[in-house]
């Protein structure tokens, strides 16, 4: 995403996770805001451009360079806000004209794209911009550097380059980049600011519905994930419990004989199934029950040994849950 002039910052680094898109948009619309709002996420950046409270353009660009504009951008932004737990919102107030140029940069008509500067007559191009009373933005860049010249009615409004935070009046940096080997240009044009006022994405988009759908979808996804995790955990727990039950049966069987397995089954059944083995009270009742019944079948010495083994096995297993 391009670096854009910051103008007059209204908010910076607001945590996106605490915000709701419809509320943000309503606030900017109601305040007749002119400028742009940038939502910076780890993997994407979204820019919303406002002219007198009207949303004139929306753009979301991912790290992979994939861009979405308009309705898709608003949907993508809502999804990013709902699904990512991080992200920051910055809101910058700009002049109407500069906002128009930002719009041109983001969604304007592309007249030149990645055109090598040495292959074109820049002087003629600039004259044409002036003659055509063009509104837009000329971007001059190399792999390392970038500068933008914003035009209104063919006249430069100002210059902006990476490393600066606001519009400058000097063209020195732009000329310097233009002189670098391998410099390229992009030229974007757009309608005038007044014409842009006829556009308002918020009028054709039910942002509340988009937001609600995203929230519902996200909740559904979370619930689904939770359910899957719970089922997975349940399965793992069930597997571990079965192994513990088998271990307990083999210990009791070792001292009591084959009836030991039945005895364990009965005590587990009386105490609500094998889950009692990992519950403090349940395990105690189970062990006492086994001990009581074993007294009718096993010698005191063997009961003592069996109880020690049982307690160790259950405690070890408990710590694994």
């Amino acid at each position: 995403m391009f670096l854009l002039p910051k103008g007059n910052p209204l908010f910076e680094n607001l945590a996106v996770s605490k915000l709701k898109l419809p509320d943000v948009l309503a606030k900017l619309t109601n305040g007749a805001f002119t400028g742009y709002a940038s939502f910076v996420f780890q993997s994407s950046t979204a820019i919303l451009v406002f002219e007198s409270g009207k949303l004139v353009s929306a753009l979301v660009e991912g790290q992979n360079g994939k861009k979405e504009a308009g309705f898709e951008a608003l949907s993508a932004l809502a999804e990013l806000m709902v699904t990512t737990g991080s992200g920051a919102l910055n809101v910058y107030k700009l002049s109407k004209d500069l906002t128009m140029c930002i719009h041109a940069l983001l969604e304007g008509e592309i007249l030149y794209k990645a055109q090598e500067l040495k292959l074109i007559d820049i002087k003629t191009l600039l004259e044409k911009v002036k003659e055509d009373h063009m509104n837009g933005c000329l971007r001059i860049y190399t792999d390392e550097h970038s500068a933008m010249i914003f035009y209104k009615d063919g006249n430069p409004l100002g210059f902006f380059h990476d490393g600066s935070s606001d519009i400058e009046t000097s063209s020195t940096e732009s000329q310097k980049i233009a002189g670098l080997p391998g410099a390229k240009i992009d030229l974007f044009s757009t309608q005038s600011a007044d014409e842009l006022m006829g556009t308002n994405l918020l009028e054709v988009t039910n942002i509340q519905k988009i937001w609600d759908n995203c929230v519902a979808l996200h909740k559904f996804d979370i619930d689904k994930t939770n359910l899957e995790r719970q089922e997975r955990d349940k399965k793992v727990t069930s597997q571990k419990l079965s192994e513990l039950e088998e271990l307990v049966k083999s210990i009791v069987g070792e001292y009591v004989g084959k009836v030991g397995r039945g005895l364990v089954d009965k005590e587990l059944s009386d105490n609500g199934g094998n889950t009692c083995l990992i519950d403090a009270d349940g395990a105690e009742k189970f062990v006492k029950g086994v001990e009581k019944a074993a007294k009718l079948l096993v010698s005191g010495t063997n009961i003592k040994l069996m109880m020690e083994k049982l307690s160790t096995a259950i405690s070890t297993a408990k710590s694994e849950f």
């Binding site: 009591v256 004989g257 009965k266 009581k292 019944a293 007294k295 010698s299 005191g300």
Partner: protein, 249 residues
Amino acid sequence: MEKFFELLTQMNPLDLVQVVFWGLAGAISFYFSIGNARVWTSISIGFFLIFISQVYGINPWGHYQKLTAYHYIVGTVAIMTITHGFLEYYVFCRTFEISGNKLIVYLSTIAILAFSGIFLLINPTPSPNTIRNLKMVENAIWVFLCVMNLELIRKIYSAIKDSDISKGFIAFGIVFICIFLWRGSDLYLQIFQWDQDWQDIIAIMTEETSDIEEYIGRVQLSRDVMRYAGIMSSISVGGAFAYMYKLLK
């Protein structure tokens, strides 16, 4: 006390030995019941009651017919209590359910014995014939329940044969075989009216004759079996409980 020693001197030495052994067996079984699980209580009390039923021979007040009759009733209650205990043990082996408490077993036994006493008190004094009938009923119940207990013990053993105490049930099986022979031979004599009680009754009270002289061989054999199996029963009961105590220690 003089009467007691007089009775001791009048008794057949083997009968006296039998009473002494039953006393030991009763003491061991009662002691066993105190420190052990409830399921054993019925069995232990039952064996202890055998001793009570057997001491009529040395009871100084044994000439009271109601008291003699009471001894036989206690004997009947004894085998019923023992059977109840083995039945409970068998149910435990199949279901692993242990219910109730020792106090209820003690109180129930006392209540049954008390009701039996009341039954005798409110009824006419039993004649020697009635006492003999009671003894015969007692023997019949003993023989029948011995067979039942042997079957229960077989089933218990097959359910728990790889446990520590399974061999203890073999010992109880031996006990019931001895008791079966003891009581069975007595019952045999009673059924054919070759028992001493009947001989005494006909000698004094009726003009009936006995064919005992014709079958003196089998009568003597039955009497010997009754006497020695009786002693073996008491010894084996004491031994079985001592062995069981050792196994459960």
